[in-house]
């Protein structure tokens, strides 16, 4: 089941002109920003399919930029995100690529900040909905519509049990949980969607409990 809520059909409140090319793009950019967790200094957007063909007209470029700068779909500043990016000294570029098997509206974002970087592939599904499909080259699947934890760690026994335990004791209900790794025992990413709004202190709690955790990021619902 893809759609379940009335607000996935009626909504979001957004700046036009396109829910898939503008609102969905803002959402994708915003997710990338939350994972990067700092202001980007350089961003490359590789656009595919319909995104590639019409990004300038729909303001998809402005929308993706707005999102990576931290704006939401309803921000009135989306139309001037390019000016804001220039003022902030953010270097950015847009290129085209073949969509292949991806959804018609797909973008690959590579963002670098002062201390870290993030790479993600995501599609805009229509109606302002987005779906992240690759994160730092690993396959993932989340939408940002539920509060989401992104955990970078090494693949070790008991990791999922520890995470589940911490979340459970803190009153969170896990809606979806996936772990992807490069190889057994090597680097891995766990994506955990929960039903309740994530409190910031959960990050410190998780870091304190799991020594082989490399990083944790929150993607809050926008």
């Amino acid at each position: 089941m893809k759609y379940t809520s009335m607000f996935e059909i009626i909504g979001p409140i957004m700046v036009g002109p396109s829910s898939s090319h503008t609102a969905g793009a803002v959402r994708i950019g915003n997710i990338a920003r939350q994972i990067l967790d700092e202001c980007p200094t350089k961003v490359t957007f590789q656009l595919m399919g319909s995104f590639a063909e019409t990004y300038q007209g729909h303001g998809t470029d402005l929308a993706l930029l707005a999102g990576i700068l931290g704006m939401t779909t309803a921000s009135n500043d989306v139309p001037i995100s390019d000016q804001i990016a220039s003022e902030m000294g953010v270097e950015y570029s847009f290129t085209k690529a073949n969509a292949g098997m991806h959804h018609p509206n797909t973008v690959r974002i590579e963002a670098t900040g002062p201390t870290r970087s993030v790479k993600l592939l995501a599609s805009s599904l229509g109606g302002g909905k987005a779906e992240v499909q690759e994160l730092d080259d690993l396959p993932v699947k989340f939408t940002g519509e539920k509060p989401t934890l992104i955990l970078y760690h090494t693949d070790q026994k008991g990791f999922l049990a520890k995470i589940s335990h911490i979340l459970n004791t803190q009153g969170y209900n896990i809606a979806r949980l996936t772990l992807e790794r490069w190889k057994k025992g090597e680097l891995a990413i766990t994506v955990c969607e929960v039903d309740e709004i994530l409190r910031d202190e959960i990050i410190q709690m998780i870091k304190a409990s799991i020594p082989f955790l490399k990083d944790v990021k929150l993607v809050q619902t926008i």
Binding site: Y3, I10, G16, P17, G57, N76, G127
Partner: protein, 294 residues
């Protein structure tokens, strides 16, 4: 209950002796754990944004970001005042209202995706018109947005609401069907009649391609919103009159999915085929993009 088939939704409504909008509210409460008041308030806020967009473009001309379009809602609204229209003046307001929202959208103003931004004018167009008739309370209108949402969920899960995936039939077509069904419920129709309104409205938009000139949500998008708002009213009245969709609504939705799948990519929001590919369409694209680079 899953939002995948209209006949299931209709069955639940009948069994519970509820409207489809009320069923949607119950499902939302059950699924999210939120209160009825909270859910209602959120939908009300969205309706307020819809109404703002409706009022904006009829009071003064709103131009698009590209400059290609704009001011048509105002033109229609002023024309209505001359009292010499073919369509009843009050009914024609629906067209102006729908055009207005779509023009605000093209001007990068605030609207509500319904179910997308490209089709955002239709539901506000018909519902603000219904509100303006003075025959229905504001709460009734807001509850009808939930009816529309339930219908949209079925379409989204069984077919598509994305122009890139299914063509304009999936966007404007879906919005028109949602609007027609919502109007039937406002008009006191049965759940079955709501379903038939969906089937009738969709039949009228099957095969509609997504061929935006220059890739912009302007030509022919804005005009389609205005014209299909009238279609929504017509489909609702047809259903309330007792006309049925001979091909069951769920089968019509399935056809929309199949037609969308068979549509070439050039006619699914890539801004390449159809109207976008005409000599004028290409010239406009050149004009807009050269200007934006200059």
């Amino acid at each position: 209950m899953a939002f995948t088939h209209l006949h299931e939704l209709i069955k639940v409504a009948k069994e519970r002796n509820m409207t489809i909008g009320e069923v949607m509210m119950e499902m939302e409460k059950e699924q999210t754990g939120r209160s009825e008041r909270e859910i209602f308030n959120q939908m009300e806020r969205q309706f307020e944004v819809m109404e703002e967009a409706v009022r904006k473009g009829i009071q003064e001309p709103v131009m698009s970001r590209s400059g290609i379009t704009g001011g048509d809602a105002y033109r229609v609204y002023e024309y209505i005042k001359q009292g010499n229209t073919f369509i009843h003046p009050q009914t024609l307001q629906t067209m102006a209202y729908a055009l207005s929202v779509s023009e605000v959208n093209a001007g990068m103003g605030r609207i509500v995706a319904t179910p997308t931004a490209g089709s955002a004018g239709i539901l506000p167009g018909v519902l603000v018109y219904a509100l303006d008739t003075g025959r229905y309370s504001r709460d009734t209108i807001i509850l009808s947005l939930m009816t529309a949402a339930a219908l949209g969920l079925v379409i989204a899960n069984s077919a598509s609401i994305s122009g890139a995936a299914g063509g304009c039939q999936a966007e404007v077509g879906s919005a028109t069907a949602m609007a027609a069904g919502a109007l039937v419920e406002i008009g006191g129709g049965t759940p079955e009649q709501v379903g038939h309104a969906v089937g009738l409205a969709l039949k009228n938009s099957l095969g509609l391609v997504c061929d935006p000139v220059g890739g912009l949500v302007e030509v022919p998008c804005i005009v389609r919103n205005g014209l299909h708002a009238i279609t929504a009213l017509a489909a609702a009245d047809m259903a309330l009159a007792g006309v049925k969709s001979i091909i069951p609504p769920d089968e019509v939705i399935q056809v929309m999915h199949e037609v969308g799948t068979e549509m070439p990519a050039s006619l699914r929001e890539t801004g390449i085929g159809g109207l976008a590919g005409t000599p004028t369409g290409k010239a406009l694209r050149e004009k807009v993009f050269n200007k934006s680079k200059g």
